[in-house]
Symmetry: C2
C-alpha cells in the first residue's frame, strides 16, 4: 500500500459541487489501494475576502491576528471535504495545520516550516482514515497559528510528503500541468510530461504561477516527485523529478514570462566604493525586493545604476531612492513601470553554447529592444517592454522549436 499526498488548490474547492468532485478523486486514489493524505487550500476567494474584512477594520492589521484570521479559510474547506468523503462512505478526518504537526517559526504571514511532527497524521492513517490537512498554516512553539505566505499550501503538501515518506506529492490545480509556454499566449504550447526540479524552480521563479518555488526546492531536497495536474480532467499532468533523461533535458524546455516589472535608473552617480550599499540597504529595509542590478562602465568617475523591482513596489522604491539620489549627487532618477520579462529555461543550456545568441537574434528580428539581461546556468532572461512580451514569447517558442519535442 503506497502513501500519497494530494493537494487541491482554492479553485478546485470553490463551491460545494467542486468539493464533491474533489472528494470523488480522493476516493478513487483510495480505491486504487493507497493511503491518502490531502492538503487543501481555502475555497475560491475566501482568503481575499478575509483580507478585505481585516482592512475594513485596520489599515495595518497585526500580522499575528491576520494569520489567525486567514487560517480559518483552510479549516473550513478541510472540514467540508471530510464531510463530503463521509457522504461517499469513506472514513476521513480533517486536521488543522497545528494538529497535523506543522511547526513553524513565528514570522507571521511568511512563516517557515521548522519541522513536521506527524504523530497525529500517522495515528489517523493507522485508523484507516483519509487525512485532510488544512494547508497554508502551522503553529509556533507557543501554540500560536502562523501562515506560510504565498504558495503555502504547496509547501505544506511537499513537507508532509517528505516527512511521511510519500511515494509522490500530487498538486491538483485548475491547469493541466507545466507548459512549454503560457498557452494563452502560445496556442501551440505543450503540456510537458516531465521536468527537472531545477528547471521548474527557474520557471516558478520567473513567471509560471502553477507551483511555488519553495515547494519545488523542498521536493528536490527530499527527493519527492511532484505531479502537477488538473483537478477537473484525467490528463496525466507534469511530473517534476530529478531523473529526467539527458536527451529530454538537452534543450530549451519552456518559455516563462511576466508583466510585473518596474525599472529605476539613477543617472550620473559618482562611482565610489559603498555607493551601491547607500542605495540598496534602505530599499531592503523598506521591504523592497530588488531583482536585476546593472551598473554601466564608469566614465570619468560617473556611472548609471539601473535595477528592477516588482511593479507593485515601484512607487515605494522611488520614495526611498529619490532623496538618496539627491544626497549622493546623482544627476537624475527615472522610473519605468511598463516592463516585462521573458525567459528561456532548460538544464541543457548549461553545456551547450549558442542559446543566448539565438535568443537575442530572435528578439532583434522582431525589433524588440532588450533593456536588461540576466542569466543563471539554466536560464536567460531579457527585460523588455511589457507590450512586446506576448510577441517575444511566441517568437522564442518557435525559434527553439519547443513544440516539436
Amino acid at each position: 500500500m503506497a502513501l500519497i499526498v494530494q493537494k487541491y488548490g482554492g479553485s478546485s474547492v470553490a463551491d460545494a459541487e467542486k468539493i464533491k468532485n474533489v472528494a470523488g478523486r480522493i476516493a478513487r486514489a483510495r480505491d486504487e489501494g493507497n493511503e491518502v493524505v490531502v492538503v487543501v487550500s481555502a475555497m475560491g476567494d475566501t482568503t481575499d475576502e478575509l483580507i478585505e474584512l481585516a482592512y475594513q477594520i485596520s489599515e495595518n492589521p497585526d500580522s499575528r491576528e491576520l494569520d489567525v484570521l486567514l487560517s480559518t479559510g483552510e479549516v473550513v474547506s478541510s472540514t467540508l471535504l471530510a464531510m463530503s468523503l463521509h457522504v461517499m462512505g469513506y472514513p476521513a478526518i480533517s486536521l488543522s495545520g497545528a494538529q497535523a504537526g506543522i511547526r513553524t517559526d513565528s514570522a507571521y504571514s511568511r512563516a517557515r516550516i521548522l519541522q513536521v511532527e506527524p504523530k497525529r497524521v500517522v495515528r489517523e492513517l493507522e485508523k484507516g482514515n483519509i487525512v485532510i490537512v488544512a494547508g497554508f498554516q502551522g503553529m509556533t512553539e507557543d501554540m500560536d497559528v502562523t501562515t506560510l505566505g504565498r504558495g503555502g499550501s504547496d509547501t505544506t503538501a511537499v513537507a508532509l510528503a517528505a516527512t511521511l515518506g510519500a511515494e509522490v506529492c500530487q498538486i491538483y490545480t485548475d491547469v493541466e500541468g507545466v507548459y512549454s509556454a503560457d498557452p494563452r499566449l502560445v496556442p501551440e504550447a505543450e503540456c510537458l510530461a516531465e521536468i527537472h526540479y531545477e528547471e521548474m524552480l527557474e520557471l516558478a521563479t520567473y513567471g509560471a504561477k502553477v507551483l511555488h518555488p519553495r515547494a519545488v526546492e523542498l521536493g528536490e531536497l527530499f527527493h519527492i516527485p511532484i505531479l502537477v495536474a488538473s483537478s477537473f480532467t484525467d490528463n496525466p499532468g507534469t511530473l517534476i523529478h530529478g531523473g529526467v533523461a539527458m536527451e529530454v533535458r538537452n534543450k530549451v524546455r519552456s518559455i516563462a514570462h511576466n508583466l510585473n516589472r518596474g525599472k529605476i535608473t539613477v543617472v550620473g552617480v559618482p562611482d565610489r566604493p559603498g555607493i551601491a550599499a547607500t542605495i540598496f540597504e534602505p530599499l531592503a529595509k523598506a521591504g523592497v525586493s530588488v531583482d536585476t542590478i546593472v551598473q554601466n562602465a564608469s566614465m570619468q568617475g560617473i556611472t548609471d545604476l539601473t535595477f528592477t523591482v516588482f511593479k507593485s513596489d515601484l512607487a515605494r522604491a522611488m520614495e526611498v531612492v529619490k532623496p538618496i539620489a539627491t544626497q549622493i549627487g546623482a544627476r537624475e532618477c527615472a522610473s519605468d513601470d511598463k516592463l516585462g520579462e521573458v525567459s528561456i529555461i532548460g538544464t541543457g543550456m548549461q553545456n551547450t553554447p549558442g542559446f543566448a545568441a539565438r535568443m537575442f537574434s530572435t528578439l532583434s528580428e522582431k525589433n524588440i529592444n532588450i533593456q536588461l539581461i540576466t542569466t543563471s546556468e539554466i536560464r536567460i532572461t531579457c527585460i523588455i517592454n511589457a507590450d512586446e512580451v506576448k510577441e517575444a514569447v511566441r517568437a522564442l517558442h518557435r525559434a527553439f522549436e519547443i513544440e516539436e519535442e
Copy 2:
C-alpha cells in the same frame, strides 16, 4: 485593578462598524482601570451560513467536523476585534477556545466544559493585553475542537469569569436587559435592575432568550454576578446575583412566554406499570426532549397520557409514538402544534400563597383555556393556545402589577 469578563453576542459584532463600536466599549472598560477579558460570538449570521454550507455537502454532517467548521466563526470575530483595539492604540490578543484553556468532553455540538486552564490568558493579562477569547468552543484532551451548543459563548464567559475570579461577568447583547415581560408584547414592561439567579434560571428556561440557563447555573455555582446589558446603549442593564433584597424578591418578577410548544395525547392507554417507559424511552433515544407530562386519573384501568415537546420536534415525536400506541393498544394518538406557554416567575412565590389562584382567575377572565399546568417553587407555567399567549402575558403583567415595582 479589577478583572472583568465581557461577552459580546453575534448581533453586536455583525459588521466592521459594530466591531469598532464594541472595541470602543472595551477600551472604556480598560480606561476605567480594569483588566479585561472579552468573549466574542461569531459575526451576525456566520454560524447559520456555515451550517448551510455543511448541509450543501451532507444531509448528516459528522459532528466532529461540524464543530471544527463552526468554531471558525468565533475565531474570525475575535481576530477582528483584536485588530480594532490595536487601531485604537490598545494592546490586545485573540485566543481560540483551545488556547484559552477551555477543556471539554468530546460530546461534539454540545460539549460540557470540564475545566478551564487559564495559564495563557493569565500570561497575556500580565503582559498588559486585553484578551479576546473566541466563544462557544473548547478542546478535548485529544486536542480536537468542540463546540458548546446553544448559549455556548455565555457559558464560556461565565466559566472564564469563575476561573479567573472576575469581579463581574458582563453579557452585552442587543436588548437592554431582563424585562418584566417581553416588551414587544407588553409596552409597559420594565427592564429589571436586578434579579436572583434562580429567577433568571426559570426565566431563561421558560422563554426569555437573553441568557442561556447553563450560564446562569454556572454563575450561581461560582457566585459570579452577571450583568446583562445592551452593547448599543449606556443603560445600566440587569444584574443577576444572589444578594437580591427580600422585599424586591417577594413578588412576581417577570412573565415569560414562548410559542414553540407542541402537545401529544395518547388516548385510552392501558394503565399498567412500565407503560410510560414504553413510550418515553424510545423518545429519548430519538433525541426528543419531553417537557411536561400529565397522566389523567385512571378510569377502569384506562388512562390518557399527555406530554409537550418543542414544536420543531413534534413530527419526529409522532413518528416514534404512533407505532408504540398501536402496539400497546391505545385508542388514539393526537397532536396539537399550536400551543404556547406563559409563566409567572418570582422567588417570593415560594412563601406566599395565592399566586396560582390569581394567575388562573386572570386567564379565566380573558376566556383563555388552560391545557396543562406545571410548577416549580418559584414558577407557575400554563400551557395555552399559541394565539392567546400575547393577551395572557399582558393580562398577567397587569394583574401582578409588575410595572409598579
